[in-house]
């Protein structure tokens, strides 16, 4: 039972990440390219409940930050006026999926104050908003690439498993080729032959296809194994003995046997491919500026000065831990064979 509740929590965490990524316009307090030139490299905005005179407030509030005179990028709170934290606040206009337009954001504060929960980057862009929009790119690429890789893997595995013979030998040798290279070198090598500077949508497509192309080999081998052993099962043999056609037997009896592997592989591959996207964008081979991805918002950290001076830039790293941890939990629970069947 403990595992079931853990599974539920993990799935809920993963689902909420996807929800936030899909409705990024609503959840992010600011746009991903909105830069506040007066707050570059601003530390996270402090949220208060006690004001200057020691009064407690039920509604949390923030102060406005101003740059200290004469000092670059050191900020001070202006304690004279409070700006309460507001939910479902009217903010910048956005268009969701080109259909729904709105102005409501989950939270925010009235201008001229601003709320930067993860601080701002060197251009004064809100890190939290960029993190939320970045989730969209990273999760979409990772998930779709996993779907494509699983689809190819299942197709190739089925081809090898059902036909056998030289087709099987040739394709399996071919998959070994993909697994003989260290994955990041393979990933970058495949990326290297594709154009570097392209529009955002083309880069997205390139990222997706590169990751999927590199990752299909392993699932293909696993699917082949499952399909081979499924064909030996008594009821499958019986189905073909009583005259079931090849395609019928495959679709009705063999294919359903791959279900659990499909699920486990999805839970295993999606985080791996999200990491692949993050790594590519971190190395500057992803979607270009200003569109954020989890990799590209971390790229400035590779310069030590910014990491040493601006500790809040590490916050996005901590924020993704729950997602990957949940995926990891789901995978390890799915791989256990002692779960009682759900009734």
């Amino acid at each position: 039972m403990r595992h079931l509740s853990l599974l539920r929590i993990s799935v809920a965490v993963i689902a909420s990440f996807y929800l936030v990524a899909i409705a990024a316009e609503f959840f992010a307090p600011y746009g991903f390219a909105v830069s506040d030139r007066e707050h570059t490299n601003c530390p996270p905005t402090r949220i208060h409940v006690v004001d200057e005179s020691g009064h407690w407030h039920l509604r949390p509030f923030v102060y406005r930050y101003v740059e200290l005179p004469g000092e670059l990028e050191s900020y001070q709170e202006v304690r004279s006026q409070r700006y309460p934290l507001e939910f479902f606040i009217q903010g910048a206009k956005y268009k969701f999926a080109n259909i729904l337009s709105g102005r409501r954001h989950l939270f925010g504060v009235a201008s001229p104050a601003s709320i930067f929960i993860f601080g701002t980057d060197e251009y004064g862009r809100d890190q939290l908003s960029r993190f939320i929009y970045g989730a969209r790119i990273s999760l979409i690429v990772g998930t779709l690439a996993a779907a494509v890789a699983l689809f190819i893997g299942l197709g190739v595995g089925a081809l090898c498993g059902t036909f056998g013979g030289w087709v099987d030998v040739v394709i399996m040798r071919f998959t070994e080729l993909f697994m003989a290279l260290p994955w990041l070198y393979l990933l970058l090598a495949v990326r290297a032959i594709l154009p570097l500077r392209t529009s955002a949508s083309v880069s997205l497509l390139i990222l997706l296809s590169v990751v999927a192309l590199v990752g299909w080999a392993k699932p293909a081998r696993l699917f082949r194994g499952v399909i081979l052993s499924a064909q030996e099962l008594d009821f499958v043999v019986a189905a073909s003995v009583i005259g079931g056609g090849k395609w019928y037997v495959f679709r009705r009896h063999v294919l359903p046997q791959t279900g659990s592997l499909l699920l486990t592989q999805a839970a295993l591959l999606i985080p791996q491919f999200v990491i692949a996207e993050v790594t590519l964008s971190f190395l500057g081979l992803g979607v270009g500026e200003p569109i954020p991805s989890w990799g590209s918002i971390l790229a400035p950290l590779a310069r030590y000065e910014s990491l040493a001076l601006h500790w809040w830039l590490v916050l996005p790293v901590c924020a993704v831990v729950p997602l990957f941890f949940s995926y990891h939990e789901v995978t390890s629970i799915l791989q256990r064979d002692d779960i009682p069947p759900m009734m």
Binding site: R173, A180, P182, L283
Partner: protein, 319 residues
């Protein structure tokens, strides 16, 4: 013996396949040689054709592959257009640096993970659970993130030098000082690599050890009064090692990948930064050579794993 020969033959075939793959990478990449000349109105198409013939670009692709492969076997790794010299003249230093990093990390990771894995498998309860949680957390942190976190901690502690491979006054040190300086610079990147692979290794060693400890012969030995340490190290560990050997190859390949990221972040002058730079500048001969080198290391790692298995598993040795 047949097993060993079979594995070696397999390795050679794999390397050949990867070389074909790399050659296709070279030829399929967008942009052809002399494209720039073609846009120049002063250069006639006859000149371009002559140039193409001079470099053998008019030959069929199969012939070009054999020509390229022959050069490779003779140590001719192509010409780097952005460095303006032969690749072989500058590729050895980065290769050596990457190998230093990766091999140190691999050896350390194995030396640490074997005792921890066995300890977790044999002592049930709190230790096992704490290690389980720690490894899950570490496993679920993407490698670039892990590297950045450790880098941040190191920046705060200011205990080790950060970035690069040697201090500015490296040449002034004595031999001992040089080694010490190198080790101090090696510390952080190696730590990141070890942290990246440790959870994977510990988990597999623990699982494999648990499998063996459940076997009837272990129970028989215990009941027969064989000492605990002897049961673990002499009876259980060698049997548990067999399913672990493939991870030797895996760990080398994985650490090569992670070390690419770490090298870029820590400015370690290895293959990683070179590879990335050559991708940015479309220096395709360098790209292909780095890919081939990384494959070679990984394939050799797998071969070592196979040989270890051969040496340890009498069922394979005697069949």
């Amino acid at each position: 013996m047949k097993y060993v020969l079979h594995r070696i033959a397999h390795t050679v075939v794999l390397l050949l396949a990867v070389s074909i793959f790399s050659f296709l990478l070279l030829t399929l990449a967008p942009g052809k040689p002399f494209d720039e000349m073609r846009t120049n109105p002063q250069v006639s198409s006859a000149t371009i054709a002559a140039e193409r013939m001079r470099y053998g670009l008019d030959r069929p692709i199969v012939e070009r592959y054999f020509y390229w492969g022959k050069g490779l076997l003779h140590g001719d790794a192509g010409f780097s257009f952005s460095y303006g010299m032969d690749v072989r003249s500058f590729i050895w230093a980065p290769t050596r640096n990457t190998l230093l990093l990766t091999i140190t990390a691999t050896i350390l990771a194995w030396l640490i993970s074997i005792p921890i894995g066995i300890w977790c498998a044999t002592s049930n309860g709190a230790i096992d659970r704490v290690t389980g949680l720690a490894t899950s957390l570490l496993v679920s942190l993407p490698e670039p993130f892990l590297a950045l976190c450790l880098l941040y901690v190191a920046l705060r502690l200011k205990y080790t030098p950060i970035g690069g491979m040697s201090s500015l006054d490296f040449d002034a040190f004595s031999i001992g000082g040089k080694v010490l300086d190198l080790m101090r610079h090696l510390f952080l990147p190696v730590l990141i690599l070890v942290f990246a692979i440790l959870p994977v290794l510990v988990r597999h060693i623990r699982a494999s050890m648990l499998d063996v400890l459940r076997a009837p012969y272990i129970e028989a030995a215990r009941l027969g009064g064989v000492r605990r340490m002897r049961v673990i190290w002499r009876l259980a560990a060698p049997a548990a090692a067999n399913p672990i050997f493939p991870f030797v190859g895996f760990s080398i390949g994985y650490l090569l990948s992670v070390s690419l990221i770490v090298e870029v972040i820590m400015q370690w002058p290895g293959l990683g930064p070179l590879f990335l730079e050559s991708i940015y500048s479309r220096d395709l001969f360098v790209v292909v050579d780095v890919v081939l080198l990384s494959t070679l290391f990984m394939v050799v790692g797998n071969l070592i794993a196979d040989l270890l298995l051969y040496w340890n598993d009498p069922r394979i040795r005697l069949s």
